[in-house]
Symmetry: C2
Subunit: 83 residues, 2 copies
């Protein structure tokens, strides 16, 4: 059993209106030292596989097909064994 | 200058319809080894502070006030120095 922690982020050149809105809100609240915000997704998946290589393959496939939109998003993940 | 990586997750007992929808989609696609999905947010903020303790204080405040809804969400963050 593995816990997959998947991070999905917009590619650097893709416009990020959510991040811009958060930045505007923080500036309005007086946090002037924030100079940029990028918003992404964080997913935790429980994977019932015993073999780490197999779990990696499954998570990569799922990220490419569903979790991330690979045209505009990048993803990376970590696999932690759990009991 | 610091890069703050902020992870916002629903508290364990809070219902997560987005995670349930993703799980259903993955099962429909044939990924039967996935047993649970929790969806959260991942934010990257550029913080223009020279002092790490000050940057930590600012990020904690921003997370409590805007980035996370502390009634139903937990947050954690890392600070990496950048040039």
């Amino acid at each position: 059993m593995f816990l997959a922690k998947v991070y999905v982020t917009l590619k650097p050149l893709v416009n990020d209106p959510q991040g811009i809105a958060i930045l505007g809100g923080l500036h309005n609240m007086g946090y002037k030292s924030v100079e940029g915000v990028r918003a992404g997704k964080y997913l935790e998946l429980h994977i019932n596989e015993t073999d780490k290589a197999k779990a990696e393959k499954v998570v990569t496939e799922m990220a490419q097909k569903l979790l991330a939109n690979v045209v505009i998003e990048d993803f990376r993940f970590e696999l932690d064994p759990i009991q």
